[in-house]
């Protein structure tokens, strides 16, 4: 398998590995470890006491519920967008593909500002929202909207290349065998992309829980009401409440680590199917 010409001397190989591992330790592992060390610096009881606070708990609940709304929404949008793009031809398809990438390319702060400009008191739709007595900005709906916007590409991006590669021929086969459109989708299309879909959901979830910029703009930082975990960490930190800040941060990091483990498990078990996505 290994070509002799392409094999570096062992010194070079070890040097490259050392550089890569060293970089990883310095910039990725060390910070995560620091979070946990700082959080536990005054002992476990102080660490746990940090969570015995109404504002902190409400931040945790808010973060989890925003993710619980945003992820299923993007699951639906992502599947329908990927389905439309991969299986059908229609005018404006390229435009749609670029639009899906938009949240990746613009700064989250700008994403947040867009919603303020749209739904804020001075915004375009502000008066309309006011007349309906609906509060979007500086309230939970705004946070959900901003999160949905920022995390929109994850699932669609994961599915489109895979679905395009698989083509429509299996769906056609199902149709000739007498299956209905919905049945075809449920028994052929969905099972064929299930692992990529789950992978997309994990990534989407990680970002939904961790999003700071866009949410920070629309939330208004009202403690106990519109503070998500990342925002709460910042507030605590600014108040020199380091232990509590790092405790909440450690929980957030913990959630991320769980996601990462899930993702690795997926890659380990279904690497081939996911590889199709990576290639693009």
């Amino acid at each position: 398998m290994r070509d002799r010409v392409l094999t570096e001397t062992s010194v070079v190989r070890w040097l490259l590995i050392a550089v890569a591992v060293g970089f990883l330790l310095l910039f990725l592992v060390l910070p995560v470890v620091t979070v946990f060390v700082q959080a536990l610096s005054r002992g476990v009881s102080t660490y746990l006491a940090a969570f015995d606070d109404d504002d902190t708990r409400s931040a945790i609940v808010l973060t989890l519920s925003v993710a619980a709304i945003a992820v299923p929404l993007n699951l639906m949008f992502g599947i329908s967008a990927a389905w439309a793009i991969a299986k059908f031809d229609f005018p404006g398809k390229t435009l749609l593909v670029s639009l899906i990438d938009l949240p990746f390319s613009i700064s989250p702060v700008v994403s947040g500002l867009i919603y303020v400009l749209l739904f804020g008191a001075q915004g375009v739709l502000g008066p309309l929202m006011k007349s309906w007595d609906v509060q979007i900005i500086f309230a939970v709906p705004g946070i959900v909207l901003a999160t949905v916007f920022v995390t929109f590409p994850f699932i669609a991006r994961e599915l489109i290349p895979l679905m395009q590669e698989q083509g429509t021929v299996e769906e056609e086969a199902a149709l000739t065998l007498g299956a209905s459109g919905l049945r075809t989708f449920l028994t052929v299309t969905l099972p064929n992309v299930r692992w990529a879909l789950l992978y997309g959901v994990l990534l989407c979830n990680a970002r939904a829980m961790g999003e700071f910029g866009a949410v920070s703009v629309v939330s208004g930082h009202i403690r106990g009401l519109t503070n998500t975990m990342p925002l709460h960490v910042e507030i605590l930190y600014n108040e020199y409440n380091f232990v509590a800040a790092f405790a909440v941060a450690s929980l957030l990091a913990g959630l991320a680590l769980v996601t990462l483990v899930g993702k690795s498990l997926l890659e380990w078990r279904h690497g081939d199917e996911l590889a199709a996505t990576r290639r693009h």
């Binding site: 021929v169 299996e170 056609e172 086969a173 199902a174 149709l175 000739t176 065998l177 007498g178 299956a179 209905s180 049945r183 028994t187 052929v188 099972p191 064929n192």
Partner: protein
């Protein structure tokens, strides 16, 4: 069993997909026996379609693939689980894949996948079986075996079968009738004998049987090929023509008024026979003839040949090439 034969881009697959309902016609009607199927949906047509790439459901086992068409039926008409199981076993037996029912498509060879696709299509008891390049992706040996096997299967089950191919040997050997398509038009439909012996258009004459096209002219009962003259077939009207010559049309002779003199420009040995390329005159395409191996021909040699069959088509017809 009908073969749709034509060069690539001639509309064979499109026609097959129209029959299946995977494409919609812009005009015309589609009849199954006497029933108008033009506006029936794919599912309502009850066709068995075998795709070129087989399109097996990759996440399902062989047995699940075959059972799919039965399982998706509405509850009223769906057979019981035991019945489905029995049908699957029967079909596995028919396509000679017993014991492979739990395999995934990715664990099968090309020929096996092809047969699973066929069994899956047959499971729904289709009114017509449609095969798109059924042997396209297989190597020569498997191809030959599967071809024979498919013919036997057809004789046994008697399904109306429509298959697409660009391989004329395959079409002429396997099908009862062959339809020749070219640029989206039907050139001729008939038995292999009709197609080979009585090509209806200049395209068909040129397409089947390794024919070479040579410009020719008929004046007052005389056929001119290059600078040579032979009697034209009886009753042939005058004009400019394309003469189609197949290897089997050329017979070596020893001088008569029908004889043409030819020059050997190349000799090849192919299996038990010898193939010689002959030139009938300066600037004309060379024709090939097949000779027994004992005929030792040398390059540059001259000989006399006669055309056993003279196939003339008015030159410049729409399907000229």
């Amino acid at each position: 069993m009908l073969a749709l034969l034509g060069p690539s881009g001639s509309g064979k697959t499109t026609l097959l997909r129209l029959v299946a309902g995977l494409e919609a016609p812009t005009a015309g009607r589609l009849l199954f026996d006497d029933e108008d199927a033009t506006h029936l949906s794919v599912g309502e047509r009850r066709v068995g379609f075998v795709f070129q790439s087989y399109a097996l459901f990759r996440h399902q086992s062989v047995a699940e693939n075959i059972a799919y068409g039965l399982r998706v039926r509405p509850r009223r008409t769906r057979p019981s689980n035991a019945e489905i199981k029995r049908r699957v076993a029967e079909l596995l037996d028919l396509v000679q894949l017993n014991g492979l029912d739990r395999r995934r498509p990715s664990e099968l060879s090309g020929g096996q996948r092809q047969r699973v696709a066929l069994a899956r299509a047959l499971a729904v008891e289709p009114r017509v079986l449609l095969l798109d390049e059924p042997f396209g992706a297989l190597d020569a040996q498997v191809r030959r075996d599967l071809r024979r096997w498919l013919r036997e299967l057809h004789d046994r089950t008697g399904h109306t079968t429509l298959f697409v191919t660009h391989d004329q040997d395959e079409a002429l050997e396997l099908a009862d009738r062959v339809a020749i398509l070219h640029r989206g038009r039907l050139e001729q439909i008939g038995t292999p004998d009709d197609i080979l012996d009585r090509p209806a258009t200049s395209f068909v004459a040129g397409f089947v049987g390794e024919a070479v096209r040579i410009p020719a002219e008929v004046r007052e009962g005389v056929l001119r090929i290059g600078a040579q003259y032979v009697p034209a077939p009886a009753g042939q009207r005058a004009g400019n023509f394309d003469l189609f010559v197949r290897p089997s049309d050329v017979v070596v002779t020893d001088g008569s008024d029908e004889a043409l003199s030819a020059k050997v420009v190349g000799v090849r040995r192919t299996g038990p026979a010898r193939r010689a390329e002959l030139s009938l005159g300066e600037g004309l395409p060379t024709v090939e003839i097949q000779l027994p191996a004992r005929h030792a021909l040398r390059k540059g040699e001259s000989l006399q040949v006669r055309l056993a069959t003279v196939r003339l088509f008015a030159s410049g017809t729409r399907a000229g090439r």
